[in-house]
């Protein structure tokens, strides 16, 4: 990233993401209003709120994938480790290397398990030169071990990623982010396409990855936010209503709208 670094006294080392005064419009519709958010490094932070509240928009602003829709405009700043990613000088390829994204619907590429895991390294390596055989074997094993797939898949690395079970597909989608050493993982309802067993397994995995990676996760599932996150952000109509540690938000929400949402009075 080549954005200008901020002076050291304003850098908050414990904040992985620091969003300030973020406003975002889709055409004439304002989806985010003056969003301020501080995401603690190494923690799992969940974004909750009813459909259309802007949580996915906020998530997708962090790696700037929103911009693909030409009519998006944003003001304010999103600092990752002190650097503003909205700065025009930011190299998107480098940003997306640092910030991995997991989608609602598992989307492994129509390649072998092995090539799925190596895809990122091939995209980012100098001259696109793939690592040699031994090195790539090590990368694949390490990534699959980290997502708890190695034992299941070590003998079927040539299977197509798209033929795996949904749970395995989603884990593979997480695994393929890891070889390029991202620091932040964005997850957009990563379990909503999975059955309960798959959900549990992927949640366990996400829990295991905390500390090593900063994780920002959008979820519709209150129980999941409660089980699998350390901090929780409640959004409503493009604004952040409440942000606190998960346990206290669920036990003792400060805001009455938060309380109403958590208790399922709307959503």
């Amino acid at each position: 990233m080549s954005a200008e670094p901020v002076t050291s006294d304003t850098v908050d080392a414990s904040a992985a993401i620091l969003v300030e005064k973020l406003n975002l419009w889709y055409g004439d519709f304002q989806a985010l209003l003056d969003v301020d958010l501080r995401v603690r490094a190494g923690a799992i932070t969940s974004l909750i709120g009813p459909s259309g509240c802007g949580k996915t928009t906020l998530l997708r602003s962090v790696n700037r994938i929103n911009e693909r829709l030409g009519y998006v405009r944003a003001t304010g700043s999103i600092r990752l480790w002190g650097l503003d990613v909205l700065d025009p000088s930011v190299e998107l390829a480098q940003l997306r290397k640092q910030v991995g994204m997991v989608f609602q619907r598992p989307n492994p590429l129509p390649l072998s398990v092995r090539d799925n895991v190596l895809f990122g390294t091939r995209v980012h390596l100098p001259d696109g030169r793939p690592p040699n055989r031994g090195e790539s074997d090590r990368i694949v094993e390490e990534a699959l071990r980290e997502v708890l797939l190695w034992d299941e898949l070590k003998d079927s690395l040539d299977r197509r990623g798209t033929e795996l079970s949904l749970e395995q597909q989603q884990k593979l989608c997480i695994a393929r982010l890891l070889p390029v050493k991202p620091r932040l993982l964005l997850m957009d309802e990563p379990c909503s396409a999975l059955d309960p067993a798959g959900t549990e397994a992927v949640e366990e995995l996400i829990w295991k990855l905390r500390g090593e990676y900063t994780i920002l996760i959008v979820t519709h599932n209150m129980a999941q936010a409660r089980r699998a996150s350390e901090e929780c952000v409640f959004m409503l109509l493009g604004e952040i209503i409440e942000h606190s540690d998960t346990a206290s938000m669920f036990l003792n929400p400060a805001n009455s709208q938060t309380a109403a949402y958590i208790e399922g009075r709307y959503g």
Binding site: R68, F103, N107, P108, P110, L111, F119, T162
Partner: protein, 289 residues
């Protein structure tokens, strides 16, 4: 409780009637195909022989074979393919993978639709003006093929774009989110998964150009020329024009000859279609996601 009421019986009757009607209409569709093929085989079949396919026309085209026309058509189609496929595929890639939804893109789309709607005789005049006269290619294989290429460009673009669109967006998003560029995404994911569709679509569409007559009439196809073209700047005979000529312009042509020419022409087209369909079935069988 479960007996049919009068209303049920009436409904069933109407249902049957409409089913029959639609079935009948569908069969009507097969009829012309079957008739055309049947008539051509019965009346043109006797004309087909080794000699018919591989010798020069003789006696003012009332005897002999169709070799120069056959070879000429192959030349025209191949050169047209070489000219239109790279341009068409590149344009489709741009429109499908890069183009933002703006005025320019909409204008390009409109142009493609309009180009597809231009009558072939107008393409012929354009080809005459542009390739024969302005670019000084003369009446030649090159001018005729380029005219055919311009005419087939829209279908090549549409066929290619359709097959690019069959690759799910989720794959592209996955790539972009890992920092892959559009081109890396195209090369590693989009093209490998759509190349079969592109190839078959292109073959299928371009096979139809082998039957075009108007665009090549003024631009490169000769009435009678008992030589094979030696290069792209030569004139050539072509199957479609030859059929027109011996059917309407030359007296005393034996009756089986035009039918024979038509049969060979339609066999060429059907053979190309067959190859393309077989190819598609084979590749689709292997593809899974």
């Amino acid at each position: 409780m479960f007996e049919a009421t009068a209303q049920n019986r009436r409904n069933r009757k109407v249902e049957g009637l409409f089913r029959l009607l639609f079935l009948w209409m569908t069969c009507m569709l097969i009829l012309p195909v079957a008739l055309i093929l049947g008539v051509l085989i019965v009346r043109g079949g006797p004309a087909i022989s080794w000699e018919f396919l591989f010798t020069q026309p003789m006696n003012n085209m009332t005897a002999g074979g169709i070799l120069p026309a056959l070879v000429g058509t192959v030349w025209l189609v191949v050169v047209a393919l070489i000219a239109s496929v790279p341009v068409g595929v590149a344009a489709a890639l741009y429109l499908s993978e890069y183009a933002p939804d703006n005025r320019l893109t909409r204008a390009i789309n409109l142009a493609i639709i309009n180009l597809a709607g231009v009558p072939s005789i107008v393409h012929a005049l354009f080809g005459l003006g542009a390739f024969v006269i302005f670019f000084r290619f003369g009446t030649s294989v090159l001018a005729a093929s380029l005219t055919l290429a311009v005419m087939t460009l829209p279908v090549v673009i549409v066929a290619t774009r359709e097959s690019l669109q069959t690759v799910p967006l989720a794959f592209r998003e996955a790539c972009w989110n890992m920092g892959a560029t559009r081109w890396q995404t195209i090369r590693k994911i989009v093209l490998p998964n759509s190349i079969s569709g592109i190839l078959t679509g292109v073959i299928l569409e371009v096979s139809r150009t082998s039957g075009e007559t108007a665009p090549i009439m003024f631009t490169g196809a000769a009435f009678f020329l008992p030589f094979l073209p030696q290069g792209v700047l030569d004139q050539t005979m072509a199957m479609s024009l030859h059929l027109f000529v011996i059917s309407t312009q030359v007296p005393d042509v034996p009756e089986h000859m035009p039918f024979g020419v038509a049969l060979v022409l339609i066999s060429m087209v059907l053979a190309m279609n067959g190859i393309s369909i077989a190819f598609r079935v084979y590749l689709r069988g292997r593809k899974k996601w």
